[in-house]
């Protein structure tokens, strides 16, 4: 690190920022006074030293690398150029070892509690009898699957693959915004970002001492293997994809290839006598574990949506018979319902007798009269979300909304209060991004990926998602978001 006097550094690095604004939001790189945070200094120095053309050159070569590798996502509704490269920012987001330690412990605690909750609700439902969580909240959730009642799942693991979204408030504290317990995506971008970044800033990467994430695929495979049905020592593990038109198709192929397992579509599978087979050139081959990237609704037309051809008829019965493991289990969407989310801290104290390490965001339940009145009176200050949606859809951001949008949401809330929750508009943290040829702050979140097999495993880092549009609070890739590589430091 820098050995010279501090004044010199400030002057030197100062030229980097130009009219880079600092206000109330937490800036990942700079302290409120404008100084560069200790762990960001090496990055700042590198940027100052690099000639502008060199930075642009590296950006272009990284762009090209994404395009030829086909690291793209699908944009619907246009026949030409339906694939775009996933927007990304060249500057890494840094997380200190100390911060990460807290995140890791917090998420482990949270996922353990959520899994216990799912097991409880789908068996004795004690938490409901003890009135910790209102019964009607659970049974009115559209992701609750009555078919799962009393069904024994391998190792009692309902959620083997999780991605939780964290935000950092202006106090510097991390909070959990939501948990993705159905089919969280984005992990392939985490892995490919890292590969490209290592090539773009090799020296910097090395000098920082970044904890590795490359073993994710291996951990995922081990997790899946640990969940195989009993008596199948050499399980045939497959990844079930909705197919090439799914926006996350790149990720499915990427993971299948990294793990060395077959990528199957519903049409490759058949069931016979409650056993799932796949069609191969050598005839039918038994399938033991399915890493499912297809939503519940589309998984088995005999049990769920009858008009879906993406899944496999008879899959659920084979699952119920214990002949095949499907993960994540069906019905896990119950626990990432945005209204059920409000009760996660209660679950943690109920099941684990611990205090939550990572707090929730304050959440108003609109089915409660008093809270609803408050929300309706303050729609212009709050964020309203539909409980079962994801990807940034079905959302009203109060301060950025028009009177007409607010009226529309008020009407929908009155009509179906259970379907919405409200949260304060969060001024979450911002990190510097390379926009054109200078730095500008943009809002970021963090999605670490958690694996749960024999135990909870979290690779250090995750996907930092960036709201690339100026002032925007929406980080979802479907809505103009991008990503950054996330470096968790050894020290």
């Amino acid at each position: 690190m820098n050995a010279g006097p501090k004044e010199d550094l400030t002057v030197e690095v100062g030229s980097l920022f130009g009219d880079y604004p600092l206000d109330l939001a937490f800036d990942e790189m700079r302290e409120p006074g404008g100084d560069v945070r200790q762990h960001y200094r090496a990055l700042a120095e590198t940027l100052v030293r690099l000639p502008e053309e060199e930075l642009q050159k590296r950006k272009q070569s990284a762009d090209l690398s994404f395009l030829t590798q086909g690291i793209t996502f699908t944009v619907y509704g246009r026949d030409e150029g339906t694939e775009r490269i996933f927007p990304y920012d060249l500057l890494p987001r840094l997380i200190t070892a100390q911060e990460w330690d807290r995140i890791e412990r917090g998420l482990t605690q949270r996922i353990t509690a959520l899994n216990l909750f799912l097991r409880d609700v789908y068996s004795d439902a004690k938490i409901l009898s003890d009135r910790v969580i209102p019964r009607e909240l659970v049974y009115s959730c559209k992701h609750y699957r009555r078919q799962m009642r009393g069904l024994q799942v391998p190792r009692n693991v309902y959620i083997a693959v999780v991605g939780s979204d964290l935000l950092r408030l202006n106090t510097g504290e991390y909070v959990v915004l939501e948990d993705n317990l159905r089919v969280p995506s984005g992990v392939s971008y985490m892995l490919t970002n890292r590969r490209v970044m290592k090539r773009t800033f090799p020296q910097l990467f090395h000098s920082y001492g970044v904890r590795p994430i490359e073993h994710y695929s291996q951990l995922l495979l081990a997790t899946l293997r640990s969940l195989a049905p009993e008596g199948r020592p050499e399980p045939n593990i497959v990844l079930l994809t909705p197919g090439v038109f799914n926006s996350a198709y790149f990720e499915h192929t990427y993971l299948a290839r990294q793990m060395g397992i077959d990528l199957v579509e519903g049409r490759d599978l058949v069931t016979h006598d409650n056993i799932v087979y796949m069609r191969t050139t050598d005839g039918l081959k038994r399938v033991d574990v399915i890493y499912r990237r297809v939503d519940d609704d589309f998984s088995d037309p005999l049990i769920f949506r009858a008009d879906s051809s993406l899944g496999c008829s008879g899959l659920f019965n084979a699952y119920r018979a214990g002949n095949v493991t499907v993960t994540n289990a069906f019905g896990t969407g119950l626990a990432d319902d945005k209204a059920v989310y409000a009760y996660v801290p209660d679950m943690i104290s109920y099941y684990l007798k611990e205090d939550p390490i990572l707090p929730n965001v304050k959440t108003f339940l609109l089915s409660e009269d008093k809270q609803r009145q408050h929300v309706l009176a303050n729609l212009d200050k709050l964020v309203v979300k539909a409980v079962g949606e994801s990807g940034g859809y079905g959302m009203l951001i109060g301060p950025q909304s028009t009177a007409r949008q607010r009226e529309e949401f008020a009407r929908q809330i009155e009509a179906n209060p259970r379907n919405y929750i409200a949260q304060p508009t969060l001024d979450f943290s911002r990190a510097p991004c390379l926009i054109g040829n200078h730095l500008e702050p943009r809002h970021v979140d963090l999605r670490p990926y958690i694996l749960f097999g024999e135990k909870v495993n979290i690779v250090p880092g995750g996907l930092t998602r960036v709201a690339l549009e100026k002032g925007s609070l929406v980080v979802n890739s479907s809505q103009g978001g991008g990503s950054k590589d996330t470096w968790v430091l050894e020290q």
Binding site: T68, Q69, Y254, R267
Partner: protein, 320 residues
Amino acid sequence: MLSRVADSLYWMSRYLERAENTVRQLDVTMGLMLDTSGTSAETRWSRLMASLGKHTGMEWNGDLEAMARTLVFDSISPASVTFCINGARENARQVREEISSEQWQRLNRLFHQMHSQQAQAQFRSSINETLTSALDGIHLFKGVSDTTMIHGQGWQFIRLGRYLERSYATATLLEVYSPDLFQVQEQDHSGYQYLELVGLLRCCTSFEAYCQVYTADMSPDRILEFLLLNRDFPHAIRYCVDGIRDAIESIQRSGGRRPPDELTSGIGRLHAMLGYTTIGEILAGDTGVFLHTIREQCMRIHELIYRYYVHYSIQSALAI
């Protein structure tokens, strides 16, 4: 290997082979049009279309550049090079996890290259360069396929697609060309006949190989013998059929399932037709019928492969 994956690899390979064939034949035809021979541009164009297996759809309209542009870039027309490359890439995209990253990157780069503004600009300045760079892209892909992919079932399905497509295309080409070859032979001493024959060989990249075997002494029956019966040249039909037989045997060895008798006997019959016949016998009979039979056999083999490896009934599979 998943049946769907085998199917995609097979078609990826067929589409690329088809693209390559189209590029080469277009290149040769445009080269021949430069010479003022007795054959009109219109005749040449319709012969090109016929030997690509497209008898209708793109009638000669006098504007060679525009027609060539359509044949290269029009991604709607199934005859075009771009259509084939799109098809190959779309199939590859569905089996991303089965092919190597190098393969995918080559093919993806070729795809983006064909759809780029530069390709259009290059085409305006030099059609020839466009065609050459497309060929380069395809050759590179084949090269990395052979060097970066496991030579297991997937690779064998790629070979199967390549050789079936190639035997079919070569048989079609010869069927279109063969009546003309013998008609003009006697009275021609102007050198045009020579150009025609060289053109035919070039369509199969076989001019140099032919010279090595027969010297530059061109005669229609030798050319036919070379393209049909040579066992060492990769574009000769005999060689391709050997490749098909070998690929099927390898697939069977690695999977342990015996192909149905229909399939082995179909391939065996084709093999015998080419392995135990002399060119004299072929020419004594009806060459057209002979070539037509080869095409029919190829189609039959394709159907059997599909029925046995890809789209078999569950009942038959459970019975095993």
